[in-house]
Symmetry: C2
Subunit: 453 residues, 2 copies
Amino acid sequence: MVKLTEQNREQYAESILQALNSEELQQFRQLFLELHPQDQHDFFLELEESQREKVYEYLSPEEFAEIFQELELEEQKDIIEELDQTYAQDMFGEMSTDDVADFLGEVPESKAETVLEGLEDDDAKDIRELLSYEEETAGAIMTKEFMNIPADAALRDVIELLRQEGPDAETIYYLYVVNAKQELAGVVSLRDLITSDPNKKVEEVMSTRVVSVNTGDDQEDVANLIKKYDFLAVPVVTTNNTLVGIITVDDIIDVIEEEATEDIGEFVASRGATDVNLTSFTAAKKRAPWIIMLMFFGLITAGVIGQFEETLERIVLLAVFIPLIMDSAGNTGTQSLAVMVRSLATGTFEKKGMFNTVRREFGTGLFLGLFCAITLMILIPIVYRDVMLAFIVGLSLFLTLSIATIVGAVVPVLINKLKLDPAIASGPFITTINDVLGLMIYFSIATALLQYL
Amino acid sequence: MVKLTEQNREQYAESILQALNSEELQQFRQLFLELHPQDQHDFFLELEESQREKVYEYLSPEEFAEIFQELELEEQKDIIEELDQTYAQDMFGEMSTDDVADFLGEVPESKAETVLEGLEDDDAKDIRELLSYEEETAGAIMTKEFMNIPADAALRDVIELLRQEGPDAETIYYLYVVNAKQELAGVVSLRDLITSDPNKKVEEVMSTRVVSVNTGDDQEDVANLIKKYDFLAVPVVTTNNTLVGIITVDDIIDVIEEEATEDIGEFVASRGATDVNLTSFTAAKKRAPWIIMLMFFGLITAGVIGQFEETLERIVLLAVFIPLIMDSAGNTGTQSLAVMVRSLATGTFEKKGMFNTVRREFGTGLFLGLFCAITLMILIPIVYRDVMLAFIVGLSLFLTLSIATIVGAVVPVLINKLKLDPAIASGPFITTINDVLGLMIYFSIATALLQYL
């Protein structure tokens, strides 16, 4: 029994490599094809170009398709250059249509067209359909490899059908039932199928309470639905309820990862740049717009301090607390932002309602401001021997933190109401607003109380 | 066909509510029990206490168990107070053992003990076992409701067994095969089961290449495994390969959500505080340690500026660029951090290797520094009519950003090597290091070039 533990895996990979290098075709195929496609993919990625050439020679297009569909998009683009055109075309013919569509969506249209023309008509039609949906919608992420069964079939016949066609479908754990007009009419789980009398008809055992999504639905909403009901798959229908595809739970896991990475990317202002596969220059080009935009925000903050140059000239010590005010305002605001973004993303927000959540955040800000102000009013007199300074910094911080939580909580909700992605109100954006507010409060109080300093 | 669209759902809920309020027991039960447990839960959450009391009366403990296990932990604690003790005990007897364990892990031990003593011996034993594993490990999140089948059984008999016991198991889509010593020997998917000749034996069709996890494995590693291989479930074994539980994909989705929320929480320094169910004061208490710790960091940064008070006194205008230096250093560092944390979490980091990734980040920092320095050397002379100031700020920013990316990339890797959670190197921590470095570079250069200003 080949158990894929850390140690065995390396040893096993060593044997395959040896077979490959010494050109023992049979030995290589036997060992390699025994692996899970994902492990085949891991092994393949470690190879040099000359070794990869041998793999293309030793594996049929159908076998190589398994590896190709596990590759990242950037890797696929590199590998396709190494493949013979006929081999590549045969490989596309063996891949799941949704995987082909993902790839073709990223290459120049003329190239995609060539590939499409070489495919069977049915597959080409499915892929064109998938490509026609907007990115990140249910239609774009669904698969066309699903089985639908007529409502009036006998269970016995369905099981026979599964025996024949099952291996090609993405999942056979849920079978979607359609009526004569190809409209979604119900669902039968494989579980129900085998635990029921085989002589019954599908419509007798199917559940008509089938939850479906629309082709245009956002992928994040689909993810929340699958998560909520613990589904293994969900059917995708058009506006007139025609069944056109399914989305399986493994695709949804990728969506959840992707959305979480996106959320984090937006917190740190690097949308699309948290990809470790890019070169330094490409990564810099992707991140630079954010950093430069935020630098402009920094110039705005600079302008705010510039307004108080006179005050600063009289008491230079005030400059020392600029970082403290900025950091505290920024951190408090992004905490509130994180709470809101996550509760909007995971759907808990709807349960509690906007008003309650914002009020909760404001209350939290008041308490946080109070805790921090008290700490500072004890610390600053000890370190800087200046009670008035402690009072100014403490009061500023109290006011700033109370407001910072509201900014952090309200901005993403407003942006959500305007149907924009809540995470556009990214951390740095909220932080800048709070920096400016905090420093204005701080220097205004300091200027007003200047005579007592 | 009751289709749960947004509109129908409300209308349906209205009918159930009416039946409940007018005490039409039969009508209520018929409508309510037709709903998916998750929808029953949503409906139940909207009720007043007096209405909830009626629900307890109208539903059997078994029926109510379905709702109870969907509740959040905090909600469970509130609801349990409203239940009659015998009713509650019967309900626990009907719940999945892993759900009971999750609940009992959060209540005082004496209370948990009372519940455990009232349960059947088998269930109590399972729950005690689940409670004995460390939090966030495979053992703690696995379920004991799984079916294992002997290797020498005939497929025909297995299908018969499924007909009888299937409805109680968490998943029957994978059946794990054990030998006489209860050791994990293989796996048969339901798909294989129904597409094979029923007269064959399990060991003839089972796959022996079964990937399993250990009870002590981190839940994040389990999630990555399930994600990698697109599994619907994974078996959990002890160190001597005895099968003790399974983890299903729906639990893993919760883990992925949880870990993503945790990652984000750590980016914004609010571990455990991104929970919208807390009161203001509790939320403030949870977040305050972070904010106050970061405030202390702010005092350190203040100390750095304090060192250059003389320089500042001569050129107050230097204070104006403090936010710009801080923000740019902080933002660049957290971008690098985000790349590292996500690639550590999703496992892409291992593919690329530490050295390559850090070198990539350093290169990115050089380019970013260059872009920003050029922008500033054009802008500052226009706005502040001071070329020397532009040079100082530009050069400082170039050096700071180059270093900031390294700090952002290396710190999480070091922390990971030390087997700590990489996200402890949270955004604010990295930001503070970069703030201090950036301001020291800035004021050092300014002090050195003071005579030219």
